[in-house]
Amino acid sequence: MTVRVRKIQVGVEETLHEGGPVAQTPLRMGYAAAVVENPFAGRYEPNILPFMDDLKPLGLALAGRLLSALGGAADEIEGYGKGAIVGVDGELEHGALWHAPGGYAMRELLGEAKAIVPSSKKVADVGARLDIPITHRTASYVRGHFNAMEVGLADAPWANELIVILVMTTGARVHARAGGLQASEIEGLDGLR
């Protein structure tokens, strides 16, 4: 099935401080979102799996765009997340088709990325915003890297569209000081600690 892309939006946010000391290295968080036609809109389609494979090249393209917007160095990417917004003629399950191609694409590009890619999804109207959860890419329990990025487009998703989204970050929250597992303490064996 052809993946018909209407729009691509890429955003990068840099945080220099949040009321505390100015960071030596600002935290950068970026997203890449693609607005695609939902081939299953308006009906119940039992077999939706083939579309998951069709989305793989788009996943790789979005991950590449995002990495390059963040400077292009895979080893500087420390956190990630993904999500999907399904237009109102679609089904939440259609958003789930993004799990494999989105996650696979970022791992393919970043190399070592053992932690599960956290995700969120919803069915929503045009202009909806989605908070994409973010965790450390090697160890899910790293507390400083728990974060989220709000993403949305003013004119999407139409009823027959999906927005598929990838997020990457370059570090911890800008004033992270809530304790817990530190990035320096990661064992890196199980994707958790």
């Binding site: 892309v5 729009k7 939006q9 890429v10 955003g11 946010e13 945080t15 220099l16 917007a69």
Partner: protein
Amino acid sequence: MKAKVRKFLVVVEETHHEMGREIAPPTRKAAALAVIENPHAGEYVEDLEGLMEIGAEMGDILGQKAVSALGVAPAEIESYGKAAVVGEAGELEHAAAILHPRLGKPLRQAVEKGAALVPSSKKMGGAGTPIDVPLGHKDGAYVRSHFDGMEVRVPDAPRPREIVVAVAVTDSGRPLPRVGGLTADQVEGKDGLR
């Protein structure tokens, strides 16, 4: 830098299809935003010189960030616009001081030329307030194909004592312009209007 910046946000949007038609090459817009501290939050100040200086810095920094996000030469930028959202402890006039006296000159350097007025909008708002940055052709304000806008927002800004400053640029007009009027190739570029 005079401005105390908390955040920068740079967004690029490409349109590949509009009303079922393929747009090749895609039309593209970029916006660069800064979240800055409002030095005059909570007090009435007669002389807004400090904010005017900040405006000059913003024209330079945000202009360059937006142009570089599109990855084209400055001369290839076709339209531009600017806007600001002032947090509740500030005053609408603070947006005016940033946007109008001095932001335009460095922005025009960033897009090479720019004979036309830089269209603008401003408002007061809370964190996450969206603002539509108006867009107009940089050399001929009457070019009808390039009248447009770009909605931007920063989810956590402006906080009460902050201002969000935005600059938007494009390397193209609307995806399917067909309402006539002055076209980009007819622009003389002398008076900024036609």
